[in-house]
Symmetry: C2
Subunit: 208 residues, 2 copies
DNA sequence: ATTATCTATAGATCTATAGATAATGC
DNA sequence: ATTATCTATAGATCTATAGATAATGC
């Protein structure tokens, strides 16, 4: 655990920076703090990454990629639309469960620093398949609508519904914990229940 | 507009502080900046509010109150459950529309400063009727569940669904704008559509 | 007299860099 | 020789306060 099996300072700094940025965001994390967490001198952080901004970009870029990848990945190709969607929502939830600080980091930095929105924009348009994945989802949604199995709605709304329900839950966990004080042993159950509720609610919500 | 009809510096400072805190959060707003926005000297900010922290608490408290009030307010007493819920969700959405920076401020500060969670906690338990409002909603929800008009679910989930969908939409507006570049004249339509979608999705989502 | 406003400044950070020293690779 | 790490420090903020001056209320 505490051994850091010869990870090399450069990488260790990146890791600790990641942890701290995820926890408190860019503004509230100092290079002094990062250095202390990595067990080195503050100057070394700048030696490897030049500026705090560049270090942050490195972290942010990888996290944005992670966040998008799941949303866009299609696994169950041509299964039943509803089954496919159920899996997608669940996979997105699971990704966030593994990275619970992700929504806060992305939201916070996209909101407070317009420059980061450009990064997101590039990242979206870069993956050329992103667009095609999007179009494919749109297509299958429209097919269901014309079959009458889904009510009239746009892909944009569907995606927003998924991100809203999933991301906001993880955004609010620290608050829920603080206000209602969920016991550690019931935490897992609480999250599992919410996972099911989110999926059910979204799927039910698109019915005609 | 620019006249500040004899508003007195004390109040003007509070107003400008509110604007800035809503826009960028506590950490990224300096008392220097607040003073400049109010057109006075930085020392005056401290003269009236002593510390930046106290000034912030004043703003935060009023915003928390606002946010809770709508969620808890019951207007349509004993109407139809679904009609009542539809109104509630819409009213919450409308409040956020008037205060689009509210979700970000509250989320950001509750996440980065644990102390603020205590403030929220107190605020919730202070309004003694808060609990009763909550219980009343729970009661009518359970009635519907036993009638078979709503699927099995908890009040907590229902409330989380509403806040998730409403708050997250306003959280993401700057991002959506930045990425997709919504034109100013279509903005209103976009928001109106989302309002309808949110209501429909939540109401549909709780059906058995 | 009291209250509002300003100027000036101390003391805390924090980022970034310069320059010294230690570790490592041929 | 080159790369990694450290010490020290300049320069930018930023918060908070002390102390001077201007405005206002009796």
């Amino acid at each position: 655990m505490e051994v850091d099996t010869k990870k090399g300072m450069e990488e260790l700094i990146l890791e600790k920076a990641e942890e701290l940025f995820l926890e408190k965001g860019y503004a509230l994390t100092s290079t002094v703090e990062i250095a202390k967490a990595a067990g080195c001198n503050q100057a070394l952080v700048h030696y490897y990454y030049r500026t705090k901004e560049r270090l942050f970009q490195k972290v942010f870029l990888s996290k944005i990629g992670l966040f998008l990848s799941i949303l866009l990945k299609i696994d169950g190709q041509e299964e039943d639309f509803f089954m496919n969607l159920r899996k997608k929502i669940g996979a997105h939830f699971d990704l966030l469960m593994k990275n619970p600080g992700l929504p806060f980091l992305i939201l916070n930095e996209l909101t407070t620093n317009k420059r980061n929105i450009l990064i997101l924009k590039e990242e979206i348009s870069k993956g050329e398949n992103n667009r095609s994945v999007f179009l494919k989802l749109e297509e299958s949604l429209n097919k269901e609508i014309s079959k009458g199995t889904v009510r009239e709605m746009t892909v944009m709304d569907l995606i927003l519904n998924i991100i809203s329900m999933n991301a906001f839950f993880f955004l609010s966990i620290p608050i829920i914990k603080g206000v209602f004080g969920i016991e550690e042993n019931k935490k897992k159950e609480f999250i599992e229940n919410r996972r099911e509720e989110v999926i059910t609610s979204i799927l039910n919500g698109i019915r005609p």
